[in-house]
């Protein structure tokens, strides 16, 4: 994770394509940020500045967008990232237990990253949009629902197993 940020040559091409889809540069903010996060795993202040320069907007505008959307993160994440929904339905159906289990199993608090760099997790206070699965979490973008303590432990085991068995 370097101090400066730049799109890879391939992502530069993708960025140019993105730009072509919008009437103004500013309008390409969200897909550009997705691309940034995809490349580096998070959006650093340097990346914010890079995007601001590319889109010709003040850097503060980029930070506004990054901080507004919970899908963007400003901190480096683990290889696998877990996001726990804490919105109303999930909370009523037991998101607290999910949180406690993750904290215990991974040994880090929400927002933290495990020592081996494998996992990071965070609580998302806003609805992740899957109330029918409450309480739920997202593992690397995939929904896991109807969680209990046991199911969370099992999920982590499964994930670890898929690692050792090799991809």
């Amino acid at each position: 994770m370097s101090a400066s940020f730049e799109f890879t040559p391939e992502n530069k091409k993708r960025f140019e394509e993105i730009l072509r889809r919008y009437p103004t540069k500013r309008a390409a903010m969200l897909p550009s940020l997705h691309l940034t996060q995809e490349q580096e795993g998070y959006i650093s202040p340097e990346a914010e500045q890079y995007i601001a320069d590319l889109l010709e907007v003040p850097v503060v505008d980029v930070r506004e967008v990054v901080s507004f959307y919970t899908m963007f993160t400003r901190n480096p994440l683990g290889k696998h990232h877990i996001r726990v929904c804490e919105s109303l339905s999930c909370w009523v159906r037991g998101s607290d237990e999910v949180k406690e289990t993750l904290e215990k199993e991974l040994g880090v608090e929400s927002g933290g990253i495990t020592e081996d760099g494998e996992y990071s997790w965070e609580v998302i206070p806003d609805c992740l949009g899957a109330c029918e699965l409450a309480p739920m979490l997202q593992l690397d973008g995939y929904f896991e629902g109807n969680l209990t303590r046991e199911k969370v432990v099992e999920l982590l085991k499964k994930q670890a197993a898929s690692k050792t068995s090799g991809k």
């Binding site: 202040p45 003040p58 850097v59 503060v60 505008d61 930070r63 506004e64 901080s67 507004f68 959307y69 919970t70 206070p125 806003d126």
Partner: protein, 526 residues
């Protein structure tokens, strides 16, 4: 041009006018937070909801364009209940710390709540905690808990100062206004966010806890910081001595709306440049007797000036006395000087401008490099020639008596020349090296302490009004000139009003009655 009805009153407005502006034209002030006429529309606060016939829902008056035959109500039951609900929302996380808030007394949360509040709170939950009272720049303190997220300040930094220091970060009830991390709100116009913040979230570091606003009195004035002539209000201790202000009388400066000059804004230098009004003032006339300057009464000081002037005059005629007036003086004072020194005494060595003066910072918004409020007045009233030639003659001994108004001419090349001058009379407001080396010092009044006009660089003649009494024994400069004239055997009017009327044919009140400045094209000509 659409004609619409607002609260039963018909009004015809220009196409494109919004309902909130149309209402304003007939004196109806719709409550608002985020709307500001000098900024883009945000539509965030929902305070200006009005009911418009044929629209099923209430509409925000700041965004809705006036249309022909629109029938608008700003006071229907639905509107009033919407206002009450919006206030309940806006206050749900507000700390209600009015007793320790500087905005108290001029806060639109307080003001609108008085009219539209729910009074009986239904809010049982805990309030969201945010960062309180931290400096975000040299002049501004931010309290995130008091903020209602109207984004006026953010739009100001985007659109007016174009410095982009502030933003809205995070989402929902955790949203906050904050600086972009590496930045500081230190642009040359930063103070304006204090004025436009409708609540106590942005307060002035210099003014905080110095005086409750209801003890302030306010007077219309003109900024003397540069030749732009921005319109300002001088807010000063009115009904009570501010016990924490260290005897300061002027407590703060606020911009005064003038569509032709400064709109709603002023620069920080002008806003915070009032210190000289209450510090380092020359409070009594002074005379050099042996080697020291000693306080004197007015009469002997003026008599000594008159005697020396007369002696020089009889020895060397009109060349024996030199005068350097100043672009800090009002038109009326410049007129009085012109009448006495040029027209009556026919002095040949009269100058006005200081060629050594350091220019100030300039930009393409308000700030001009010329730091004087009345350089154009000086030119329009026929003063030419700069101080250098006059100082040189004084140094050579050709000029026996040199009368200097306001300028500090004691540094560098000027200082070397001044040192050789035989007899120096200084008429000014504040102590400086020139006053300290004068033989007679006559204390003048600042623009806060007298009436008069300045002509801005575009030629607009603008009035400033007296807010305070001249400090100590100091006197209005046109009075000083008139008294000096009397001692020399001439009769000159002492009041700015009289001088102005003789000049322009209207009274000062008639000039300022228009509410803003006189347009150079339509102004009565000098």
């Amino acid at each position: 041009m659409p004609t619409l009805t607002i609260d039963g009153q018909e009004v015809t407005v220009d196409a494109g006018t919004t309902v909130i502006q149309a209402a304003e034209q007939i004196g109806i002030n719709i409550p608002r937070y985020c709307y500001h006429p000098g900024l883009s529309l945000a539509g965030r606060c929902r305070m200006c909801l009005v009911e418009i016939e044929t629209f099923p829902n209430l509409q925000i008056a700041c965004y809705t364009r006036a249309q022909d035959e629109m029938v608008v109500s700003t006071t229907s039951e639905r509107v009033l209940s919407a206002r009450q609900s919006m206030l309940e929302f806006l206050l749900s996380n507000h700390p209600l710390d009015c007793p320790v808030c500087d905005q108290s007394g001029e806060c639109d949360l307080q003001n609108f709540y008085m009219d539209h509040g729910q009074y009986q709170s239904r809010f049982l939950e805990n309030k969201v905690k945010k960062k309180k009272a931290f400096p975000i720049g040299p002049h501004v303190i931010l309290d995130q808990e008091r903020c209602i997220l109207c984004t006026r300040c953010v739009r100001f930094t985007e659109e007016v100062s174009k410095s982009n220091e502030l933003g809205v970060f995070n989402r929902g009830s955790r949203s906050v206004i904050d600086l972009y991390p590496t930045k500081s709100l230190d642009n040359p116009y930063s103070g304006n966010v204090i004025d436009i913040c409708p609540v106590g979230a942005l307060t002035e570091r210099e003014f905080r806890f110095k005086c409750r606003v209801w003890y302030l009195a306010s007077q219309e004035s003109i900024c003397t910081g540069c030749s732009r002539g921005c319109n300002i209000s001088l807010d000063y201790n009115g009904s009570r001595r501010a016990y924490k202000a260290g005897g300061r009388r002027v407590m703060r400066i606020k911009p005064r709306y003038n569509p032709d000059i400064n709109k709603w804004w002023i620069c920080d230098e002008g806003r915070f440049g009032y210190g000289f009004i209450d510090t380092d003032r020359i409070e009594t006339p002074m005379q050099r007797t042996t080697s020291d300057l000693e306080p004197s009464d007015w009469d002997p000081a003026l008599a000594r000036v008159a005697e020396t002037v007369k002696a020089a005059y009889s020895e060397k005629g009109a060349n024996g006395v030199g005068v350097i007036v100043s672009p800090q003086l009002s038109n009326e004072e410049l007129l009085a000087c012109r009448e006495l020194f040029v027209e009556k005494m026919k002095l040949t060595n009269v100058a006005a401008l200081n060629p050594w003066e350091e220019p100030g910072e300039a930009d393409d918004f308000l700030r001009n490099a010329d730091r004087n409020p009345n350089t154009k007045g000086v030119e329009d009233l026929g003063y030419s020639g700069d101080a250098k030639a006059v100082l040189e003659k004084a140094a050579e001994g050709e000029i026996e008596v040199l009368i200097i108004f306001r300028h500090n001419l004691a540094d560098g090349e000027a200082g070397k020349l001044l040192e050789k001058a035989k007899f120096v009379v200084y008429v000014g407001t504040n102590w400086n090296a020139t006053a300290e080396r004068a033989h007679v010092v006559l204390p003048g009044a600042t623009h806060a302490e007298k009436d008069g006009t300045f002509t801005n660089f575009e030629g607009r003649v603008q009035r400033f009004k007296q807010a305070l009494l001249p400090i100590g024994d100091s006197r209005n400069d046109s009075q000083i000139i008139s008294e000096m004239a009397a001692k020399l055997g001439y009769s000159l009017p002492a009041s700015a009003d009289e001088i102005f009327e003789a000049w322009k044919g209207i009274s000062l009140d008639e000039l300022s009655g228009s509410g803003s400045s006189v347009d150079p094209d339509t102004a009565v000509q000098a």
